[in-house]
Assembly symmetry: C2
C-alpha cells in the first residue's frame, strides 16, 4: 500500500541528500517514486530548502519525467520553477506538456509570461491556445483536450490500430476513438476495446456506436452538467462539439474527479455562508479576500437578527413581568435553527443528487410534518419535566415553553423542507437556503411564536 509514512521518510531522506549536495543519490531515490509522488516530494523539498536547491534536482530528472512532474506541481511552485529556469527550458516544458495541462498552467500564469510563451509558438498553435484560453472557467471547453484519436468510417480495424500505434497517444485519451466526416462533424464513437476484440478486416463504420444514442456536450456547457453525465453513464471520455456540432475536443474522466470535488466544495461554502470564495487553498487566500467573501452574508444575517431584536423589544412589558421567559429563548431559537437546517441540508442534498424533484414538494412537506411532530413531542416532554422539576418554574412558563417548542420545531422543519424547493423553482441556488439562512428565519419565527403564546397563556 502507498503508505504515507514510507513516503514522508523517503522525502526526509532526499532532503538530507540534497542538503549534503548528494544530488545523484537524491535523484535516484526520487526516480523510484510514481510521478505524482515525485511532484509532491518536490513541493516539500521546495518548502524545506527553497527553490534554488530544488531546481537543481528538477533539472537532473529525465526530460519526459520533468515535464510530467511539472504539470502536477501546484501553481505557486510552477511559478517558482518558471522564475529560475531559462526561457529555453520553459519553452521545452510547455511544448511537451499535454495540451489540457498546458492550458491549465497558462490560465494561472501572469500575462507577461504567457505572452513570452505565446511569442515562441507557431501562428497556428497560438490561435489554438487562444481559443482554449477563452472558454469560461466553468465550461466544458476549459476541461477538454484537443488530443484525441480520429478515425474514418472506411478504415479497417487493422488500419486503425496501426494508426493509433503511430500516433502513440496518452493513456487517458487513447481509449475512445472518434469517427468524423470530412466536415469534422462527429459520426460515431469506437472504443479501443471494440477495436481490440474485433476482426482485423472489419470496417470502422460497421463497428462504431452511431449518432442516435451518442452522448456529447457543447463547449459552453457548464462543467457541473458534464460531471452529471459522467456519473450517470460511467463513461471514460465524452466528446465536446461546437455550435455547428463539429468535434472540437474530448473530456476525460480523470479531469472530472477534480470538477466533482470543486462543485461539492462550492456547495459546502454556500451552505456555510461563504460567497464567491476564491478558488484557491485556504492558506493561499489573503486576509482581505477572506473578509470579502464572508462579510456580505454576515451583514445580511445580522440585519435579519435585528428583526428578532425588534420582536423582543415589542414584548418588553411581557418580559418585565416574567423575566424568566428570557432564559428559555436561546434554547428555543437554537433548537428551531438546528431542526430547520437538518431538514434543509437533507432536501438540498436530495435535490443535488437527483433523488428529489420539484414535484415531490408535497411528499416532503407531509414527511417533515410527521417527523417534526414526533421530534417536537419528545423535546417538549423533556423540557416540561426539566422546567417544572429542576428549574421549579411555574406551570405557565413550562406550558409556554413546551407548546412553543412543538410549534417551532414543526414550523422550522417545514420551512427547512420547502425553502430549498421554492428557491429551485424560482431559479435561485438551493444551497443558499442552508443553515445560516434557515437559522435567521427560524429565529424570528421562534421568538415571535414563543412570546405570542406566552402572552396568551399568562393572560389565562
Amino acid at each position: 500500500m502507498k503508505n504515507e509514512k514510507i513516503f514522508e521518510e523517503a522525502v526526509r531522506e532526499i532532503i538530507g541528500l540534497v542538503d549534503a549536495k548528494k544530488y545523484i543519490s537524491a535523484r535516484n531515490r526520487l526516480l523510484d517514486m510514481n510521478r505524482v509522488d515525485i511532484a509532491e516530494a518536490l513541493e516539500e523539498i521546495i518548502e524545506a530548502l527553497g527553490i534554488s536547491y530544488t531546481v537543481i534536482l528538477f533539472r537532473m530528472l529525465p526530460k519526459d519525467v520533468s515535464v510530467e512532474v511539472f504539470s502536477y506541481l501546484p501553481t505557486d511552485d510552477q511559478l517558482a520553477v518558471i522564475n529560475v529556469i531559462t526561457d529555453k527550458e520553459l519553452s521545452y516544458i510547455i511544448s511537451e506538456m499535454d495540451f489540457d495541462d498546458m492550458i491549465d498552467v497558462l490560465e494561472e500564469l501572469p500575462a507577461n509570461i504567457v505572452d513570452k510563451i505565446l511569442s515562441k509558438a507557431t501562428k497556428e498553435e497560438r490561435g489554438r491556445i487562444n481559443t482554449f484560453l477563452n472558454y469560461p472557467h466553468d465550461s466544458a471547453g476549459s476541461l477538454m483536450t484537443p488530443d484525441y484519436i480520429s478515425l474514418r468510417k472506411d478504415m479497417t480495424v487493422k488500419g486503425s490500430l496501426a494508426h493509433i500505434k503511430r500516433e502513440g497517444m496518452d493513456s487517458e485519451t487513447v481509449y475512445t476513438c472518434y469517427v468524423k466526416d470530412a466536415g469534422r462533424k462527429l459520426l460515431g464513437i469506437v472504443s479501443l476495446r471494440t477495436l481490440v476484440v474485433s476482426d482485423d478486416g472489419a470496417l470502422i463504420g460497421d463497428i462504431m456506436c452511431g449518432c442516435e444514442d451518442m452522448v456529447y456536450v457543447n463547449a459552453h456547457d457548464d462543467q457541473e452538467y458534464v460531471s452529471e453525465l459522467f456519473k450517470k453513464y460511467g463513461f471514460l471520455a465524452i466528446p465536446v462539439v461546437d455550435g455547428e456540432k463539429r468535434l472540437v475536443g474530448i473530456i476525460t474522466v480523470d479531469d472530472i474527479l477534480n470538477v466533482i470535488e470543486e462543485e461539492y466544495n462550492e456547495d459546502f461554502e454556500k451552505m456555510a455562508g461563504v460567497l464567491d470564495a476564491p478558488d484557491a487553498e485556504y492558506l493561499d487566500i489573503g486576509v482581505l479576500k477572506h473578509v470579502k467573501s464572508r462579510l456580505p452574508w454576515l451583514i445580511l444575517l445580522m440585519i435579519s437578527a435585528m428583526l428578532t431584536g425588534g420582536i423582543i423589544r415589542s414584548f418588553e412589558s411581557l418580559l418585565t413581568h416574567a423575566l424568566s421567559l428570557a432564559v428559555y429563548l436561546p434554547m428555543l431559537m437554537g433548537t428551531g435553527g438546528n431542526s430547520g437546517s437538518q431538514t434543509a441540508t437533507l432536501v438540498i442534498r436530495g435535490m443535488a443528487v437527483g433523488d428529489l424533484q420539484l414535484r415531490d414538494a408535497a411528499k416532503v412537506f407531509w414527511k417533515e410534518l410527521r417527523v417534526s411532530f414526533s421530534i417536537g413531542l419528545v423535546l417538549s416532554s423533556l423540557n416540561f419535566a426539566k422546567i417544572l422539576f429542576l428549574d421549579r418554574e411555574s406551570l405557565s412558563v413550562a406550558t409556554a415553553v413546551c407548546v412553543s417548542m412543538l410549534f417551532i420545531v414543526m414550523i422550522a422543519k417545514s420551512i427547512g423542507g420547502m425553502l430549498p424547493i421554492v428557491a429551485k423553482r424560482v431559479g435561485v441556488d438551493p444551497a443558499l437556503m442552508a443553515a445560516p439562512m434557515i437559522s435567521s428565519l427560524t429565529d424570528i419565527i421562534s421568538c415571535f411564536t414563543y412570546f405570542s403564546l406566552a402572552t396568551v397563556i399568562f393572560r389565562l
Copy 2:
C-alpha cells in the same frame, strides 16, 4: 445533447404506446435510447402504469440489453421485477450480469431470494459470491470486481492481444491488465495502450510497470482512501490485494464516482447534525428512521442551549436594570454562530481535500485572528451607528454591544478554526465540529461575554 425535454417526451410517447398495447412500437422506441436511459424510462413507466405492464416490455428487450438495463434499475424496481419474472429468467439475468453489479444487487435483496439464487449456482461460484458479500459495506472489497485480464511475464504482446480478444472483457475492466506470478502475487501492470503501441514480439515482463511504484489497495481498506488514490493519481483502475498480497480483484473509476458522491453526502449530513442517516433516498426513509437519525444531536444541542439559559438567569438582576440589553442578544449570538461556522466549514473542507494539515494550526489561527478582527470592526461600527442614531439607546448599551461584537466574532472564528483541527488530532471526525456544534458553543460564549462586559460598562 442528451436533452431532458426530449427524453421526457419520448417517455410519455412510450407510456402512451404501452397503454394502447402497442408493445412492439414501444420496444423499438425504447431501443433507440442509451441503456442507462432505457433503465430511467422503465422506472417512469413502472411509476405510471405499474410493474405488470412494464415487465412485458422488459421481456421484449434483447437478452443482453435487458441484463444491462436491469443492473441500472433502482433497488425497489429491481425487486418489483424479480417478484414477477420466473425463476429461470432471474437465474439468467443474475448469471449474465457483471460480477460487481451482481454483488450490488444481491446485497440489497432479501435473504430468501439470495438463497434461492445461490442454490442454483455452482459450488465454486457460491464460494466466490459469499466471499464478496462478506466484505464490509465501505471497504475496497465491496467495490471490486474479480473480472480482470491476467497476463504472464513471458507472454508476448501479440499473444496478450489474442488472449484479450478471446476473453472479450467489459469496457471498464479491459484497459488495465495485471501480471501475476504462479502464486497469484501481483508482479506488475500493463495498460492496453502500452500493448497497442508496443511491438508484437515484445515480452510483457519488459513493458509492464513494475512493483516498486505500483499503487494498490487492500480489500479491507476504506473506500474513502481508495477514492483519494483515484483523485490523486488519475488512474482508470486500481488493483486490490488480500493480506498475502495476492490479487483478488480490481476497482474501476466509474464505481468511484458514486463513492465520492456518497462520502460527500455523509459529510454534508454530519455537518448538518444528522447522524447515521440511512443510506437511502430521502423519500424512501421512514418517519421513525428520520427521527432516530436527527433526534440525538437536537437533544445534545438543546442541553447545551440550556447552559446559555443558565447564563441569562445568572444575569437576571442586570437585565431588570437594563432590559434593552436583551434586544441585542439574538443578533450577537446569531453573528457569533455564523462567523464560527463559516470558518469551521472552510477548515473542515480544507482538511478533507488535503489543503490543510494538522501542522497548519498556527497559520490558521493567525489568519482567522486577522480576518475576524477586520470583520468584527466592520460589524461593530455598523451596530454602533445603528444603536445610537436609529434605536436611540444610551452610549453604555451601544458600547457594550459593539465591544462584545468584536470579541465574539474573534472568539467564534478562532474556535471555528481550531475545533476541527483539534477534533482531527484526537481522532474525531472534523465534520462533526460543524455549524450546529459551533453555534451552540459560541452561543454560550457570546451570552457570557456580552453580559459580563455590560456589567463592567454599566458600573463605570
